[in-house]
């Protein structure tokens, strides 16, 4: 079954919110990536091929080399994509926000703290 982009994004957010919390930045990044890849494998109708990310219409996880430090928050890193920031805390917390600042998802790490609380 092929779903629209917004339907796939909604499923991605649902699964990410429902997943077990993680306890490290690496585990949180892997959770974001694996969840998105799984949703796209199921519902995009397009084969996973990062070389085609610009044109194939599939949603791809944040690129590792688009990681940025966050001023004033040494325990938080930010992955930039075209219209979003994916913030990941060293405690495994995750927050996805639009460039305008609207929060799409906020998930605490295993210690119960969110990105801006560490």
């Amino acid at each position: 079954m092929v779903l629209t982009r917004s339907e796939r994004f909604a499923i991605f957010l649902e699964r990410l919110a429902a997943a077990e919390p993680t306890d490290s930045a690496e585990a949180a990044y892997n959770l974001v990536s694996s969840t998105l890849i799984a949703v796209e494998d199921e519902f995009s109708g397009t084969k996973f091929d990062p070389a085609q990310w610009k044109t194939d219409g599939r949603l791809y996880p944040p690129q590792l080399d688009n990681r940025r430090a966050v001023a004033g928050y040494p325990e938080v890193v930010r992955y930039r994509s075209l219209g979003h920031h994916t913030l990941i805390g060293s405690n495994g917390s995750i927050q996805i926000i639009t460039i305008r600042g609207a929060t799409e998802l906020m998930k605490a790490g295993t210690d119960g703290r969110h990105v801006w609380q560490i």
Binding site: S81, L82, G83
Partner: protein
Amino acid sequence: MADLTPIEVLQRSIAAELPTARINLDPPHLPSGSWFVDVEWNGALAFVEWRPLEGFGISPENVGYGEGPDVTTKDSAAAAAAAIGFLRSQHGFRDALIVADEKALQTSLRDNFLEVDVTSDIVGVRDAVAQLRRHMYRSVIVDTRVELSHALLSELERSFRSLNAITVALLMTSSPSEMVSEWAQIIIRHTVNSRNLALMVRSLLRFGNDPLAWPRLHHDPDQPK
């Protein structure tokens, strides 16, 4: 702009076309990472990603999470044009605003514009400021026989500076209004580079030679060219 980087050329191109745009540069922290340029203009957003080895990717605000860009190009000017296009398209620009108090003039202009597929809004001089703040117009036609308020002149200046729209001022004579095409003199104010100025003049000269040959004009089959 030979010494500028492509990202600087892009920024300058956008700023030149949209002087009121807010441009935010999000540089990479890792050498292989992307540069991002966020452009906000009149409430609309467009995003540009630049990877030096791959070129530019440009998207409007509704780009999905993890989605690729709508437009890709290696050329800075083309990337700027695409971003500007996305910003402008989010506003639903209108073709023309006619600012005039005289009913006969309003009707004549509206009918003639419609005949050549140009839709127009019409307001009296008193309501023009509010209308200009409510919508974006690509051109404004002003009856300059009436006294224009400082507020209206300021609003025209502001909107044309930010939109690079075309102003057409009609300088009337005492001829009757039903002879509009014979008594309207036209002043056009539009920011263009020299090449576009040449193209505009060529276009006007062609119009002067043969108005009916211009595109979008409905030909009357009974009227000889």
